[in-house]
């Protein structure tokens, strides 16, 4: 079974069971990783490396020294215990999907959250899930138990979009509530005032968290493919705008470019990792991004 087969986006879109979905993606992803430079993170993997000056002597395997009279450092014994807080935006705007057969932003975000939670559990990292829109809807603190994963996946499976996006409020609230330092993964379309959102993220930064921002956008939101006179209804505010696309497209694209650039620069300023996701792109990118970031944390 190839990786591409398992991560076929159209297939994944029709899997309703979140646990099965997460398992399918992660297993497929991991199977393709056997030559991955990130193999050192597996708890079942063992390797010896010759001691080099600077290495902590407590990591030297004395048994091997006894047998070979050489110093080797045993790496497989390095246990990880990272607490990852997955913050998922479930506002009304996240329910948007341009392709009726495709995934909405919320579904896409949920999928990422589920996969990462599953993956983290396998990596023996603890994962927690906070769902919010204008307020916090549910909050599952990071745990390493299998039942916790099931709980999280069930929560994601039953998730429905609703409410306005007001990221700054819930984020500040969460920043105050999370005591244990770890990784904060924000999955959202970030439809709020960028300055307020970045300010809230800085709140996490001040508390020593490592921050990943997964910005989920529908491909229609990125390309504005509308070509007829259209009356748009804002999914959150209900506001209506009758638009002639040929006139509005350049303005929309310019505004969007500024919006995305603002977030990208803002995240760079606070040393948060920012990644833009198109809901039509495969999910493995998200996993790769996580692994890359995780590797930096050692």
């Amino acid at each position: 079974m190839s990786k591409s087969r398992h991560l076929d986006f159209n297939v994944l879109a029709h899997i309703n069971n979140m646990q099965l979905l997460a398992k399918t993606i992660v297993e497929g992803f991991i199977l393709g990783l056997h030559r991955s430079p990130f193999r050192g993170f597996s708890v079942e993997f063992a390797e010896y490396r010759q001691y080099a000056p600077g290495d902590d002597i407590k990591h030297i395997d004395w048994k091997v020294f006894g047998k070979s009279d050489r110093y080797y450092v045993k790496q497989f014994e390095e246990e990880t215990n990272l607490a990852c807080h997955i913050l998922l935006d479930a506002s009304a705007s996240m329910g948007y999907k341009s392709d009726p057969n495709g995934m909405s932003k919320l579904e896409y975000g949920s999928c990422i959250a589920a996969c990462l939670a599953y993956f983290m559990m396998r990596q023996r990292d603890s994962a927690g899930l906070m769902i919010f829109d204008s307020k916090i809807r549910s909050m599952l603190p990071p745990r390493l138990r299998q039942s916790h994963l099931t709980h999280m996946l069930t929560e994601l499976e039953n998730l429905k979009p609703g409410g306005d996006t007001s990221l700054s409020g819930p984020l500040n609230e969460l920043a105050d509530g999370i005591k244990r330092r770890g990784m904060v993964l924000l999955i959202s379309d970030l439809m709020d005032d960028p300055d307020k959102v970045l300010s809230a993220l800085q709140h996490f930064k001040f508390q020593g968290h490592d921050i990943l921002v997964f910005h989920i956008m529908d491909s229609a939101e990125l390309t504005f493919p509308f070509d007829t006179m259209t009356e748009f209804t804002d999914m959150e505010t209900g506001e209506k705008a009758l638009v002639s696309p040929e006139g509005a497209r350049p303005i929309y694209q310019e505004q969007l470019r500024r919006f995305l650039t603002h977030y990208e620069k803002g995240c760079a300023d606070i040393k948060a990792e920012y990644k833009l996701f198109d809901t039509r792109k495969p999910l493995d990118v998200a996993l790769s991004e996580y692994l890359f970031r995780r590797s930096k944390l050692g």
Partner: protein
């Protein structure tokens, strides 16, 4: 606006095509729930408004473009006021039916209607164009039209009236209208008795446009040739009241082949028969009958000359006139004591033992009173340079009410005193006395030169044997200043003003810059008759300059003021304006301040039954094939042809406008995408 091919205008319906396309391809509004409208909510309204405006412009420009194309195909023409009655359109054939309904056609009504109807019936209604030009005096026009109902109606109303015949003018009108019609065949049918007197106005200088055929239907003259008629009359129009008998003359013509003896002609004035004369008139000749009668009634004197043996209503049997008599004019001659020239002036204006229209009173300056001025129509200051304030006020009043002042400054006048007294009431200020340069010739002095002989004072000297204006010699004259407000009506041979006039209020002040004294000129001594004539003419001019025209022909428009009340010869009040004289006789006009009678006669010569030959008219107005249109006589035609081309040039501008419009449409269309 007239069109060369008006049927193309039916295609104007194509302007609806852009509208239909617009409606069919209107934007179908799709409703979409979107994650956020924050990126375009602010601009969508502006964009939509701009889009709507652009689309409206586009739609309008496309509709306009379609309309312009249709208009261009219809070939619009510039409209000119003088041609507004004709219009211009296309037809297979075009025919102008020119019908003579002048007084000489009386009794031929049914015949001319029948002939006109026949000429009309030769055309095909709907495809051919017809024009009806009828004339009794000035031509009146119906059409051009392809619908003949209106033309038929106009024909059915044709009835000879009392107007005159002017065939040339009617043909010219028809030619002008036909020139404006696009047709493969053009023709004029003239229905007339071809009275020779009706061709008098033709002076050449124009011909029918090439391609216009002329056919003539000669109607037998309704006027019997076996008769006599008054064909002209002459009478004094405006005179001053005197007892001098005036000549009233009538021209009696005999149109028959045999002499007419003892033709009785009667003159009556103000309802009273003055005289009846018997005259022998040879066959085909005319004689003048002269009456001499004084007009002693101030105001209108209504006169009638009648052929007693002819029916009063018969054409040419009666001639109406009005002689206006102005009452005796009081002239006051003011001189300084010891100046004898006042006596000469008095004698000149009121010769002893002769009836004069002027009643002259000579007074010394010292004895002049305001009452003298107030009772005068004219005051003559002979060699006078001063007057009391009361006199000056009276003179000013006299001028304001329309009186006249004559200044004859001589050597007893001081320039400063004259200017101080009369400057505001005279044509100019006096500067100094000039002496004419010595001459080697036998006769000394300068003469009159650059005389405005059109001016009423000098017009009689135009006639032969009425005096040579260059005869009088002037040795001294006044140099003038400040004459800008005046009109110089005669100058000396050295170009200095000799006679000047200036309008002050309703009156006129006249100055002769040389004295009548023998030291100054030989006008009185050697040129006495001319002196008398000039003085009379000046006095008459000052009194009668505002007389109205009171003689008209049938068909003329009477000159009236807005509030004048008019009644026709039958006494019926006429309220419509303008008032056209329809019947011969006296039209009474009440201006509110006075009552005036206008005499109206049938055009002179209308009673003359002598007819032209058809060939004469044809040769006169139909151009010979290959005739040079640039010849002087065809200037009008060439001009009309040029005008025709110019008037048709409008379509070029339309095409230019279309190109500009389409360029704009292309630009806007590229900016406005429709889905």
């Amino acid at each position: 606006m007239p069109f060369l091919k008006p049927y193309f205008l039916m295609a104007l319906a194509v302007v609806l095509i852009p509208l239909i396309i617009h409606l069919l391809t209107r934007d179908q509004i799709k409703k979409v729930a979107f994650s956020t409208v924050r990126f375009f909510i602010g601009t969508s309204r502006n964009i939509l408004r701009k889009k709507k405006i652009r689309e409206a412009f586009l739609l309008a420009s496309r509709m306009l473009a379609c309309a312009i194309i249709v208009f261009a195909f219809a070939r619009p023409l510039f409209t000119k006021e003088k041609q507004s009655q004709s219009g211009r359109f296309s037809a297979l054939k075009a025919r102008a039916i020119v019908v003579d309904v002048s007084a000489s056609m009386t009794g031929t009504g049914s015949t001319i209607r029948k002939k006109a109807e026949t000429a009309l019936n030769e055309l095909v209604e709907g495809s051919d164009a017809a024009i009806l030009v009828s004339f009794s005096g000035k031509p009146s026009v119906a059409g051009p039209s392809k619908e003949f109902a209106g033309i038929r109606s106009a024909i059915s109303k044709l009835e000879p009236a009392s107007g005159g015949t002017d065939i040339a003018e009617a043909l010219r009108t028809a030619n002008s209208i036909l020139s404006g019609v696009e047709a493969t065949e053009k023709s004029i049918v003239l229905i007339s008795d071809l009275q020779r007197s009706g061709w008098q106005s033709f002076k050449g200088g124009w011909k029918l446009a090439p391609g216009i055929d002329l056919s003539i239907i000669n109607i037998d003259p309704a006027i019997s040739a076996d008769r006599v008629a008054i064909t002209d009359g002459d009478y004094p129009h405006n005179i001053v009241l005197d007892k001098i008998p005036r000549i009233v003359a009538a021209k009696i013509a005999n149109f028959s082949d045999s002499p007419r003896n003892a033709v009785e002609t009667t003159l009556s004035v103000n309802g009273k028969t003055v005289e009846t004369q018997k005259t022998n008139v040879p066959a085909h000749q005319a004689v003048a009958v002269r009456f001499r009668t004084p007009f002693t009634n101030p105001g209108d004197n209504l006169g009638i000359i009648r052929l007693s043996q002819e029916d009063e209503k018969k054409l040419g049997s009666t001639f109406y006139f009005n002689t206006r008599v102005n009452p005796t004019i009081n002239v006051t001659i003011v001189s300084q004591s010891g100046d004898n020239m006042g006596k000469f002036l008095s004698i000149a204006l009121q010769p002893p033992e002769a009836d004069s229209p002027f009643k002259v009173k000579s007074v010394n300056l010292q004895n002049l009173t305001a009452k003298d001025v107030n009772e005068s129509g004219i005051v003559l200051f002979n060699n006078v340079d001063t007057a009391g304030a009361e006199i000056i006020t009276a003179i000013n009043t006299l001028l304001q009410r329309g009186g006249g002042i004559i200044y004859l400054p001589g050597d007893k006048v001081g320039a400063d005193k004259f200017n101080a007294t009369f400057a505001a009431l005279s044509p100019a200020r006096l500067s100094r006395i000039m002496t004419a340069p010595a001459s080697d010739e036998q006769e000394q002095g300068i003469t009159l030169s650059k005389v405005n002989v059109e001016h009423p004072i000098f017009e009689i000297f135009q006639k032969p044997h009425h005096g040579d204006l260059s005869g009088p010699r002037f040795t001294r004259f006044w140099e003038l200043t400040d004459s800008q407000m005046s009109r110089v009506i005669a100058r000396f041979s050295n170009d200095r003003p000799a006679f000047l006039e200036r309008q002050i209020g309703q009156g006129i002040a006249i100055m002769m810059t040389s004295s009548v004294s023998g030291d100054w000129s030989n006008l009185v001594i050697d040129k006495g008759p001319m002196f008398v004539s000039i003085m009379h003419q000046i006095a008459r001019y000052l009194v009668m300059r505002s007389e109205k025209k009171t003689d008209y022909c049938v068909g003329d428009e009477l000159r009236l003021n807005a509030n004048d009340q008019v009644s026709d010869p039958a006494g019926k009040k006429i309220t419509e304006r303008p008032v056209i004289a329809r019947e011969p006789g006296f039209y009474m006009v009440d201006t509110g301040s006075e009552k005036i009678s206008y005499s109206v006669n049938v055009m002179a010569g209308e009673a003359d039954p002598v007819a032209m030959k058809q060939e004469e008219i044809t040769m006169a107005v139909v151009p010979v094939k290959g005739e040079n249109l640039d010849a002087a006589g065809d200037d009008v035609l060439a001009k009309e042809a040029k005008e025709k081309v110019d008037r048709m040039a409008l379509w070029r501008y339309l095409i230019l406008a279309l190109v500009v419009l389409l360029a704009g449409e292309l630009y806007l269309g590229n900016k406005t995408v429709r889905h």
